[in-house]
Symmetry: C2
Subunit: 485 residues, 2 copies
Amino acid sequence: MINSLENHPLYRIAAPRSIAFFGASNRFTSMGTNQLHSLISLGFKGPIYPIHPKEPQVLGLKAFKEVDLLPESPDLAVMVLPTALVLETVEKCGRQGIRQAIIVSGGFKEVGQEGRILEEQLKTIARTYGIRFLGPNCLGVTNPHHQLNTTFLPYTAAPGFIGFASQSGSFLTQLFDYLGVLGLGFSTALSVGNEADIDLVDCLEYLALSPQTKVIGLYIEGLRRGRAFIERARTIVPHKPIVAYYVGGSEAGKRAGLSHTGALAGPDRLYDGVFQQSGIIRANSMTELFDFCWVLGTCPPSRGKRLAIQTHSGGPGATAADACGREGLVLTDFSPATLDRLAPFVPHTGSLNNPVDITFSKNPLDFFQEIPRTLLEDPQTNGLLIYLMLPEEHLRRSLLHQGIPEDQLEDTLDQVIKMTAQSIISLPKNPQKPVIGFTYRSQIDRLIQLLQHKGFPVLPSPERAARAMAALVRYQRIKEVRAQS
Amino acid sequence: MINSLENHPLYRIAAPRSIAFFGASNRFTSMGTNQLHSLISLGFKGPIYPIHPKEPQVLGLKAFKEVDLLPESPDLAVMVLPTALVLETVEKCGRQGIRQAIIVSGGFKEVGQEGRILEEQLKTIARTYGIRFLGPNCLGVTNPHHQLNTTFLPYTAAPGFIGFASQSGSFLTQLFDYLGVLGLGFSTALSVGNEADIDLVDCLEYLALSPQTKVIGLYIEGLRRGRAFIERARTIVPHKPIVAYYVGGSEAGKRAGLSHTGALAGPDRLYDGVFQQSGIIRANSMTELFDFCWVLGTCPPSRGKRLAIQTHSGGPGATAADACGREGLVLTDFSPATLDRLAPFVPHTGSLNNPVDITFSKNPLDFFQEIPRTLLEDPQTNGLLIYLMLPEEHLRRSLLHQGIPEDQLEDTLDQVIKMTAQSIISLPKNPQKPVIGFTYRSQIDRLIQLLQHKGFPVLPSPERAARAMAALVRYQRIKEVRAQS
């Protein structure tokens, strides 16, 4: 096992100083052109050398007819070439002294016997020259901390804390928008494709060493090195949580995975066993994978499964309570001291039980400050689920009613929303306990957007919030068990 | 059982010609004021009479000191009063000839023994005067087709086709925004509260008669009249689908429901039985309830469980296939004729299997026209799940490349997106088979927004799309079984 980032074979693939790019032109109907565009538009700092047989310039960069005409041996070659050209190009790169490659081209193992033979030949050539590579049939790497993105779409999110390794390239590039809207982003994301050389286990090892990575997510269609995977994961999990989504469980999923990357899927239970032995938290969808990464990367550790739920509406409270029940979370019986402190805030039509149901509160700010703080300070309570719903039209009316002049209304509203967000964000800091928001408000809601972009997780349903909280509790338990063994 | 809308006790509650409103003032810190504001802001057509002991005007409407000073007997009284005032007010309304009421006030059965006695007294008074009422402890009715909304928040969605009856008022009013963003809306939504008089069974009966209601959704914390519920549902289901979410299944959910509306929840399995006997489709969350209503209200009926999945990316294809597998849906083996028609559109790196994986297509419009049409015309295929991802930045570049001048770019882009949407929307029309989109794009994406607002369902994950498709298949099966029995 490699213990230093700089010595890892992925280091100069995920953080190259210079790049030779094969297969981009000036036509945006070609995939390579789009990928080079992604790279340029993120502002990659080092030199990029497009290799093109005819064009003198590609997307504004000086192009070279052949790789042996380059002024240096770049750290990395990216190839988006027709299958038939890949082998000779790898050989040329080897002769030029290039030692890292991303092979985007498909047409290898995933298409059957002929491709399988070609992939073996590719491996032999790479081995001859000591070239380490990602792919073939992959989209490469997104490392926004290094302004690197070799995938199909421009990176639109902020640099983040989620390390991700995936047997689907789409789940890197097509989720930039998804993550960005939630205020999330990748630290480094790796598309492994057919894993002819570098595989998921190598990626896991690399992401464990990556300083920007707080939590590791894995999209798995089938593991090739099960034992090594388990061993590596076991050493990582006490320091960094790993969340995995395995797709091959059903018969239909299995067949789809096979034709996608040629990965052999096993039965669902087998993977359950693998994840349990490894201390990996299993997600049931991509959505859930990123939900879990979100809370594991932003919340203080959970000390147990006893929760408070705060709401101002019975329905959302009941659904959240039910969701918690189904996830094995327990609603705290509050101490008499907590109940005494709560009483002044909750009208007689509300409920001091757990879920705490405020119904209608005269001072909406109590809902975001005094009440949740009281719940978090309850000694029996390990965390809080809080329902968030602050419609702007109400706030606006309430401000007018308080005498704010019309022409100061929007500014004041803005300030109130920011202050409210600030109150909520500070909740999990003192005492250090996890707080997860849930809402049915859409992504357009300003308070929700603000919270998410400040790193406070707000999930779009009580079920998802409860499952995310359960993942936090589970990770803590895994760490404790590992510490004892 | 009542067979005409006009004879139903809910008719003049859900579609009153005039309203007496108790408990609104000019202070927006009171709940009643907000509710009256909701009513006014939706543009209710008939007269509204605020009753207020002091104010001459309430929110710009002429107010009356007492109900007996009104110029007429309004169809409906809405009461947002302190508990202690409710009984005498109902009595006054009765004497004034009012025969319908919405009692928003809480403090009855849901708060314990004392409230239970009060609720019995309320029922006695109402019975004396022949008053039928919703509540107490409810938010009333949202019927946007009649410009009626007595709930806490202004109705921001369009008038829709989802009939909804709920033991939580929040799930009416706090989901306006949620539904509106998806292009959905309520036909009539009823908050039943403690069900002292009108209950869920009455609502079910009413929604079955409501001409704008295509599908009925129910939020249930506990049924009071199980047998009547089953009988009524069984007669409705062959004509209109019913989807229900039952929250009380877990111990925590049960306790929360009890303190919320005083409903007695039973074990999960009991409700499973109730729903199965009734032919009701069970949802596992509010989100899922509205997902199911969405596709049941917009898609042509499904004739079976054999599906095609179309994608241009392996990962989304594999996850969709897996999700379908878990839902008992089957991926079609395409006929030789279908495969022949598909071949020219799919490059050798793609897959003609099911999921059909286009990988990279030179003409993106094929993806929305020829390819899905071919799949839908396959005789073995009953429906289609289609992955939607059309990032504007790519489209923009591709248009520039085709020679569109910069100053016409945004207009052309707009047209292309509209044309694309039109292609997709026409897919399920000929042949008449259900098509459900899925995407990871956020709500901000223009194509997704346009599709949703034109009534084409796009779900935000393959799992939710697969479950929604399974609900369609299930409803068809239920109808067939009912027709045979």
